[in-house]
């Protein structure tokens, strides 16, 4: 047997070396810089495993390939993660301010604008990139600012760029505190940022909190059925939390389930980053289009926030529109910080959180709508 057949370093290609460096950067970002460590550490490690020559971890029969078949191709991991996310989210700030649902809807514009831009660069017009209609839709969904939705839609549409899309979605979610402030500051004057919002009187009853997830699944499921698995798992998790009689299950969903699936999902996504598949010019464009999606989401959310501010007689701070992007809770914190910078007595956190969780629902609906419409137009 030749040494080249069992010594990994003799089989190192430039793609494998580049990906090993990228895996190191991802782990460094997670560990040293604390950027989304829960995701970047497993993703970075999975990426390293997938790019060790002759290791076979990500090849047919390898454990990363088995996890990919079992958890990503079947769409199981993102759905299980959603049960955990649903159990973690308190929808009370949204239920106190239900009008914020429209901010969530507006902030999905980036998905569709990026979709059309990707399709324009790909098969739709210029044909300079290998982006089919399905790929363009999967790239646009980075703008949902929601990892599980991005994975679910990209996998269901069988995009060639699923790994790049997932890494871009999670990376930009971590970068929300860097992406959003300059856009918000450019669009809102200091006077607008300093605008205080009246506090909401009263609390939401237990009965409403219990009925909310059930009604949301029925309404969204019956109108946009393709969103049913996503909204169903999100709201199932929330029902466990809200009903108050299965605290053990709610805690298990928030902790054990979410943590275990995050480990498996992270390492599997990393395992999808094999150099030969990942290092293509299109992957770089996926990343560039991802930031376009996040930026346009923010612009559209703030624009509707401005309109609602005028219509409400300046009772709504337009900045909270930026939270419709989803990316919970990072964008709420961004708006709270900008509000306090403009006026030290301006606490917008709960108002922003309302728009933020509304964005979570809207992004799931947007994912379902994309899955419904794209096959109709192929």
């Amino acid at each position: 047997m030749a040494t080249g057949e069992f010594l990994g370093f003799l089989n190192l290609s430039w793609e494998a070396v580049a990906m090993l460096v990228i895996s190191g950067v991802l782990m460094w970002l997670g560990i040293a810089k604390k950027v989304e460590p829960v995701l970047l550490v497993p993703i970075g490690f999975g990426c390293m495993l997938a790019n060790i020559p002759l290791g076979g971890a990500a090849e047919a029969g390898g454990f990363l390939a088995v996890l990919r078949e079992a958890g990503i191709k079947t769409e199981l991991f993102p759905l299980l993660i959603f049960i955990g996310i649903g159990a973690m989210i308190d929808f009370e700030p949204f239920l106190q301010r239900p009008y914020t649902i429209f901010l969530g809807a507006a902030a999905q514009f980036g998905i569709f604008a990026t979709f059309i831009l990707a399709y324009f660069l790909g098969d739709g017009w210029l044909q300079v990139l290998d982006f089919s209609l399905k790929d363009a839709a999967a790239i646009g969904i980075i703008g949902s600012a929601d990892g599980p939705t991005s994975i679910y839609v990209a996998t269901t549409l069988q995009s060639k760029y699923t790994a790049a899309i997932v890494v871009a979605a999670y990376s930009y979610m971590a970068l929300v505190p860097i992406i959003q402030p300059p856009i918000i500051k450019a669009m809102c004057s200091k006077k607008e940022r300093a605008l205080k919002m009246p506090s909401v009187a009263g609390t939401i009853s237990q009965r409403t909190k219990i009925l909310f997830p059930i009604i949301t699944v029925l309404v969204v499921g019956l109108l946009a059925p393709k969103a049913t698995p996503l909204i169903g798992c999100l709201m199932f998790g929330n029902l466990l939390r809200a009903c108050g009689v299965v605290e053990r299950l709610s805690l298990a969903a928030q902790n054990e389930l979410a943590n275990i699936v995050t480990i498996l999902l992270g390492i599997t996504v990393g395992g999808m980053m094999a150099g030969t598949e990942f290092l293509r010019p299109e992957s770089i464009f996926v990343f560039m289009l991802g930031i376009v999606a996040f930026s346009l989401d923010t612009v559209a959310g703030v624009l509707l926030g401005k309109l609602m501010s005028v219509l409400s007689g300046r009772k709504i701070n337009p900045m909270i529109g930026a939270c419709g992007i989803s990316a919970f809770p990072m964008s709420s914190r961004v708006v709270q910080k900008l509000g306090l910078e403009a006026n030290p007595y301006n606490h917008l956190l709960m108002h922003a959180a309302g728009a933020n969780v509304a964005g979570q629902i809207a992004s799931v609906v947007a994912g379902g709508v994309m899955l419904m419409l794209v096959p109709m137009f192929i």
Partner: protein, 43 residues
């Protein structure tokens, strides 16, 4: 390209419609629940 434009237009319209209906249902539900809750508190 026309297909993509249709997806954009229909997509945004459906999102606003679905979420608008959800908002409407939640408002109606709130109105239905409030009198019962007030009665329960009095009781």
């Amino acid at each position: 390209m026309l297909n993509a434009l249709w997806i954009v237009l229909l997509g945004m319209a459906i999102i606003f419609a679905v979420l608008g209906i959800l908002l409407l249902v939640m408002i109606l539900l709130g109105k239905l629940l409030k009198p019962r809750e007030k009665q329960e508190k009095k009781g």
